[in-house]
């Protein structure tokens, strides 16, 4: 039995990073909010650097609840898409050239999104991670959580449902 030798780590990483870039870096609203993603294997952590423009209550001051909701929604949709593309990225079915050109399958659509505000958002950087709790052919369920200085004291959590794109595009 012959085994295909493992790809060099740089090649694998290049393709994984290109997939993330193709997903996140081309969305104007993600750039507008200044959200970035940190990748470790298949785990993504979203980062929202604090700026005055994100303030919703100038007297406290606190991050706008809408910003927190948007941050969680962006984290959920990018994380879901990344998990969804992962196998094709790993197998090389999605080619590096296509990823770098930004040619991607259609993205999932949000059906509904519920956010719980647990603590007011401080004027600090925020972080978020999402977990795909169910990914079916048509629907997916995702949970997301955002925190600031202390991982055990989340500022908000969200539950969302998505409609997956049809395979025929």
């Amino acid at each position: 039995m012959t085994r295909r030798p493992p790809e060099p780590v740089q090649v694998v990483k290049q393709r994984r990073d290109a997939a993330l870039t193709a997903l996140a870096d081309r969305v104007p609203y993600i750039a507008f909010l200044g959200i970035r993603f940190d990748r470790r294997g298949d785990e993504l952590t979203a980062l929202l650097p604090f700026r005055d423009e994100l303030i919703g209550n100038p007297f406290l001051p606190a991050i706008h609840g809408g910003v927190t909701a948007a941050f969680l929604e962006v984290t959920a949709i990018i994380s879901l898409s990344y998990v969804w593309l992962w196998e094709d990225v790993e197998s090389g079915a999605l080619k590096l050239e296509d990823l770098e050109a930004g040619t991607l399958p259609r993205l999932p659509k949000t059906i509904d999104f519920t956010v719980d505000y647990l603590r007011s958002g401080l004027p600090r950087d925020a972080y978020a991670r999402a977990r795909v709790t169910r990914s079916g052919r048509r629907y997916a369920s995702v949970q997301a959580e955002a925190w600031q200085d202390n991982r055990d004291r989340p500022m908000a959590q969200a539950t969302a449902h998505f409609l997956m794109p049809r395979p025929d595009g």
């Binding site: 969305v27 507008f32 609840g65 809408g66 910003v67 909701a69 519920t114 719980d116 505000y117």
Partner: protein
């Protein structure tokens, strides 16, 4: 009193940096009702292939509008914060069109205000999204 409350709520919303960043404008407010408009802008796009506005921007609009409705309610002290917000997306907003959100604070207790909201583009008969939320009622001492 109510007109005064509406004025305070309007001033408060106008002073929110993120509401300004999204170019939100209050077109009606008072007695637990608020209407806020958010013009289409290229930096709000969530899907570059279609030009449809990101759901997150619609969430930000709904949240602001819900808070404004609570603040304008006759039984509410001036300040509020969102406890939770659920948004249902019926369809993508048509690119290029202003999004209008209307929120109603339909019930209020000493501690909690309940809100329903709807977001529309130019086709007012087919909402883009609906939302329900609970907001705090901040008691001023």
């Amino acid at each position: 009193m109510t007109a005064d409350k509406a004025r305070i709520a309007r001033q408060f919303i106008d002073a929110i940096p993120h509401a300004r960043a999204l170019d939100m404008k209050i077109t009606e407010i008072g007695d637990g009702f608020a209407r806020i408009e958010m013009p289409y802008a290229p930096h709000l796009v969530g899907d570059p292939q279609t030009g449809v506005i990101h759901g997150g921007a619609v969430s930000a609009l709904m949240d602001t509008c819900g808070g404004a409705a609570v603040m304008s309610h006759p039984a509410s002290p001036a300040a509020t914060a969102t406890i939770d917000l659920r948004i249902e997306y019926m369809r993508g907003a048509t690119p290029g069109q202003t999004i209008v959100a209307e929120a109603t604070c339909h019930h209020i207790t000493r501690a909690v205000a309940f809100v329903r909201a709807v977001a529309m583009d130019d086709d007012r008969d087919r909402p883009v999204a609906t939302a329900t939320g609970a907001f705090t009622v901040e008691q001023t001492s």
